[in-house]
Amino acid sequence: MRPRPLPSGTDLPVLLPAADRLARRAAEERRLALPRVTLDARWGAAILVTVLLSAAAAQAQSAPGQESVLATIWKWTPLVGQGFLLNIAISVVAMTCGTLLGVLLGLAQISLLAPVRAGSWFLTQFFRNAPWLVLLFYCIFMLPYRVTIAGEVIEIPNWLRATLGLTLPVMANVSEIVRGAVQSLAKGQWEAAESLAFSRGQTLRMVILPQCLKRMLPPWMNLYAILIMSTPLASIVGVEEAMTLARGALNAERRGDLLIPVYGLLLLAFFVYCYPIARATRWLERRAQVRI
């Protein structure tokens, strides 16, 4: 049951609808264990202006014989761009695997068998409460860096292990999204399906999950936006993604004035990638609200 600001039967007109909104948001965030990503186009413009201004300032201060700021940045763009592609690859793989595992775990959370329910609940809470960085370290250091399958030696690259480290929290969050969506459906849906002689599996597959899909999509996309913004964490454990490469480029150039333009551009890249996702999430949410 969602808390109501003014339950019927009380005459306490203490708080305005904003209280209800806040309570709903808190409940939502608690379910997801993640804040909601809200991006503002004005903010993207502000980053762009900062980048341009700082680049112009760096250009104005550079010594006569020095390479121009634009040329320097352009020189490193392909390398850092490749790193950014790795960020995207990490996020896509982690999201795909995390979703598959998370859906299974989420369905286990609504199982009729108490031990399965308790076990999957524990697993979900465990990975939801662990800091992402610690899970990342865990996977980087604990997984073997090469495995031998039937005499064949397969190297597991650093980034793949980092991907697994990000898969675990994604899995736990997807699991909560699935459980929350299934439990948010009216009980009548289950009863109606039962009265039509659907089995439990059939009810889930044909009645419940199709309705849940629409509710799960916005939080799922929000999770993806948070995931892509968390991929720079992999630079701490030495994965050669955009952040690592940008730092390497700055070290190679030995120019302090490039610090703000380069990191600003990186920020802008993340912004440009996340913005459509955040917008679409908001749009889907608003559309769902109208339906209710």
Partner: protein, 248 residues
């Protein structure tokens, strides 16, 4: 104490599981210090960020427009950038231009330590979210309540302190707690700028004693215990603060 140390020394001899932090005094001391530092960092940043949230939300409603704009800009900046980038920005960009002072043996040390930078970065990061939360809490207080305070001769600050904030705080608490739990998880980022907190020291210990597996497990369990404890405490507090007649 000696019994525990004996047990873990035994464990090492029999199974090879090397929990140095339980029997080696040096490792035990530094890990304990790191644990305390993590708790300190978490507690201080929680307090500071709540203070920022309360003051920021008050300033946002201020009649002085530039002040409100300043707070809006701050919230927008810190909400929309990854905390790791903020941490790097504070430590490398601002840390480079802060003055240094000579210490006891004449070495130049920065005026603001990396612990302080981590504290500032984390507090500002979480504080931005808190401003938002408190602002929506204040929005929930009806106009008529504020008019009543005016009729009773409260100043704007007085009304905020005695009437609006206590009401708003109870509305905010669940959202606030979510953010604070998130903040405690984010303290691990202090690792990136070399603050000797738990993750950092665990890293040092497993580099010295080559007991990565054991330390990793200890670390994971400790963090989960810490966060779970916090979640539970917050839950109790929320129940105690619940407004009668409001909420499920």
């Amino acid at each position: 104490m000696e019994l525990i140390a004996e047990f873990f020394r035994d464990l090492r001899a029999t199974t090879g599981l090397n929990f140095t932090i339980f029997y080696d005094p040096f490792d035990a001391a530094r890990f304990w210090r790191a644990f305390l530092l993590t708790c300190e960092l978490a507690a201080l940043s929680v307090l500071l960020s709540v203070a920022i949230g309360i003051v920021g939300a008050f300033a946002q409603g201020s009649r002085i427009r530039p002040l409100a704009w300043l707070v809006n800009g701050y919230v927008a900046f810190f909400r929309n950038t990854p905390p790791l980038v903020q941490m790097y920005f504070f430590f490398f960009a601002l840390g480079a231009i802060t003055p240094t002072v000579p210490d006891d043996i004449g070495m130049e040390v920065p005026l603001v330590s990396n612990f302080a930078w981590a504290l500032v970065a984390l507090s500002l990061f979480a504080g931005a979210f808190n401003v938002e939360i408190f602002r929506s809490g204040i929005e929930a207080v009806p106009r008529s309540t504020i008019e009543a305070t005016e009729a009773l001769g409260y100043s704007r600050l007085g009304a905020y302190r005695h009437v609006v904030l206590p009401l708003a705080f109870r509305v905010c608490l669940p959202a606030l707690n979510n953010n604070l739990v998130n903040l405690v998880k984010t303290t691990t980022l202090a690792y990136a700028i070399g603050v000797p907190e738990m993750l950092y020291v665990a890293n040092q210990i497993w580099s010295d004693a080559l007991n990565v597996t054991e330390m990793m497990n200890v670390l994971l369990l400790l963090y989960i215990a810490l966060v779970s404890l916090l979640v539970w405490l917050m839950h109790c507090w929320e129940r105690a603060m619940r407004m009668p007649g409001y909420g499920a």
